[in-house]
């Protein structure tokens, strides 16, 4: 068996930059490319798009990403796995086939279905957040179980060029190709834990390479305009060396790797995926060269009995308005403006928030008592049951132009629909997954 196995991370979220994946496919010498594009809310939003048009509901950037990548994947014999199927993996595969046909590139796409468990959701299912039953939340629009490698492996075993999924645990997207390559057993928890650690380090793409990290003067990262995305060279035991394509921007070092290993991990001694419970406190990280960090020795113990389900519900609307003040007493004028809006709207909007951007908006108070901002932006946000009502918030802020403190400028108003997310658990047996193979070849076309 060829060692090491190289897997690259081509996207860390739905809206991520397009070209780093192209660089990996062109010059990264990767065996596999994984694109993680599905946030918790993203799948609920996709479900809403699918409701309006049954041919939609997959990732909005899928077509642009695949048009760039398909020729390179074929030329360099790279396989790809992605959760860009979102709420409609079958339609995503059809979209990929259309691109392949237009480019006359033969292709086989395997689709993993089964994460959509909306039909199995009971209103009395207990949510993990606060123990309240699902039925207490708003209209439920989506329920997606986090699938693991047990669902992905049958799709990979078809030999398809591309595997498209909906909701899958992010590290599983990376672990599955490793497990396929090395033939790891689903009960080989140490190897699965090590592969999961590598997958977790890769899943946010640029965040391993200095993105969401840099700080001028203290945490310097070169050429962030051209940040490279990472790949891992994984050995047969799951230990890995993280690196990136030479000549790309960014940096992979001990500090970036530590931040990413711990990122969003509620319990480092028990990081839970559908595949394994991994203990990241056992990880040994070593910087073995420029932009090269080894992660070794992670251990695992068992896997969770049930699967986590992410449930999306309609949470109403939020209206926002903003206006800026500058110079002498800027903060006092912004505060006065906020009080005016609050006095006019408080009765109608029980959930309202007034922020002074540039002063106390992010953390509710200033940690530096001596700071006096030159300019301050007032932001008012309130929840409303309808878009029309939410609009009133921005309108009130806009009216401060002529009715509020002096020198207020640059108003903006927004209305957003909110999709809330809560979680629950479901027995594995109630989440059966299936694989559908779709293909296009020039022979089939001729026939």
């Amino acid at each position: 068996m060829r060692e090491p196995f190289r897997i690259g991370s081509g996207a860390g979220f739905s809206g991520d930059r397009l070209e780093p994946a192209v660089v990996l496919a062109e010059r990264g010498a990767v065996d596999f490319l994984a694109l993680e594009c599905l946030g918790e809310r993203t799948v609920a939003l996709a479900q809403l798009r699918k409701r309006k048009d049954a041919s939609l509901g997959y990732d909005p950037l899928l077509v642009r990403r695949m048009e760039l990548l398909l020729p390179l994947l074929r030329r360099n014999r790279i396989r790809l796995v992605s959760n860009m199927g979102a709420a409609n993996p079958l339609a995503a595969a059809d979209a990929i086939l259309r691109i392949a046909r237009a480019k006359r590139l033969p292709i086989r796409v395997a689709v993993v279905s089964g994460d959509d468990v909306l039909a199995s959701m009971a209103p009395d299912s207990v949510t993990l957040e606060n123990g309240a039953p699902l039925g207490e939340f708003g209209d439920i629009v989506s329920a997606n179980a986090y699938l693991g490698i047990a669902a992905l492996l049958p799709a990979l075993e078809t030999g398809a060029d591309i595997v498209i999924t909906g909701r899958v645990a992010d590290p599983s997207l990376f672990l599955a190709p490793m497990a396929l390559h090395y033939g790891w057993s689903l009960d080989d928890f140490d190897r699965l834990a090590r592969g999961t650690a590598a997958g977790h380090l890769l899943e946010c793409a640029g965040q391993l390479c200095g993105g969401y990290f840099a700080e001028p003067g203290r945490k310097e990262i070169p050429d962030m305009a051209h940040l490279g995305f990472p790949y891992a060279d994984v050995d047969a035991d799951g230990d890995a060396v993280l690196s990136k394509v030479e000549g790309t921007g960014g940096r992979i070092n001990l500090a970036t790797a530590k931040e990413q290993l711990l990122y969003e991990v509620t319990d480092p001694s028990g990081y839970v995926t559908p595949d394994v419970i991994a203990d990241f406190t056992t990880a040994n990280l070593d910087e073995i060269g420029t932009d090269r960090v080894a992660v070794r020795g992670v251990t695992g113990r068992g896997r969770p009995v049930k699967l986590k389900v992410s449930v999306g519900y309609l949470a109403g609307y939020v209206g926002e308005g903003e206006i800026s003040y500058a110079g002498a007493n800027a903060e006092a004028r912004a505060r006065q403006a906020g009080e005016i809006v609050r006095e006019r709207l408080a009765g109608e909007f029980p959930e309202m928030r007034v922020d002074l951007i540039g002063s106390t908006a992010l953390h509710g108070r200033s940690f530096d008592a001596t700071a006096r901002p030159y300019e301050v932006r007032l932001r008012v946000a309130a929840r409303a049951p309808t878009a029309e009502r939410a609009m009133l918030v921005g309108e009130e802020v806009e009216a401060l132009y002529t009715n509020g403190p002096g020198g207020g400028g640059g108003t903006r108003k927004y209305v957003h629909e909110q999709i809330g997310i809560v979680s629950t658990l479901l027995e594995r047996e109630r989440v059966p997954s299936t694989v559908t193979l779709k293909e296009w070849s020039s022979d089939a076309q001729a026939a």
């Binding site: 957040e129 969401y212 931040e259 990122y263 056992t282 951007i357 509710g364 809330g420």
Partner: protein, 100 residues
């Protein structure tokens, strides 16, 4: 009294209404000081008004890191919060303002 920012770096992550703050010493020799001074109580006091729920702390000596899991810290949850920074991505730098 050094500011935490001089000794450590930090990244914020989120899960629902929970903010996860990874505090990592730049140098191994400073890690014991973090363990001693950046206690759950100190963090609760420093982030009062932000963290409304329970805080747990996990020590990771191999990474020179402390992981703080702060419940009820994101305005009711990332997806329904009215906050400007609903994910609490900027909370890492609020923690680094702490003097120890």
């Amino acid at each position: 009294m050094p500011r935490l920012h001089e000794l450590a770096h930090c990244r914020a992550g989120d899960k629902g209404d929970t903010s996860i703050l990874s505090l990592i010493a730049y140098r191994a020799e400073d890690y014991p000081l973090l363990v001693e001074r950046v206690t759950i109580e100190a963090v609760a006091s420093h982030l009062r008004g932000i963290v409304q729920g329970k805080i747990t702390r996990c020590e990771l000596p191999k990474l020179w890191a402390l992981q703080f899991t702060c419940e009820r810290s994101l305005g009711g949850g990332v997806t329904t919060s009215l906050s400007l920074d609903a994910h609490g991505k900027s909370l890492s730098y609020a923690l680094l303002e702490m003097t120890i």
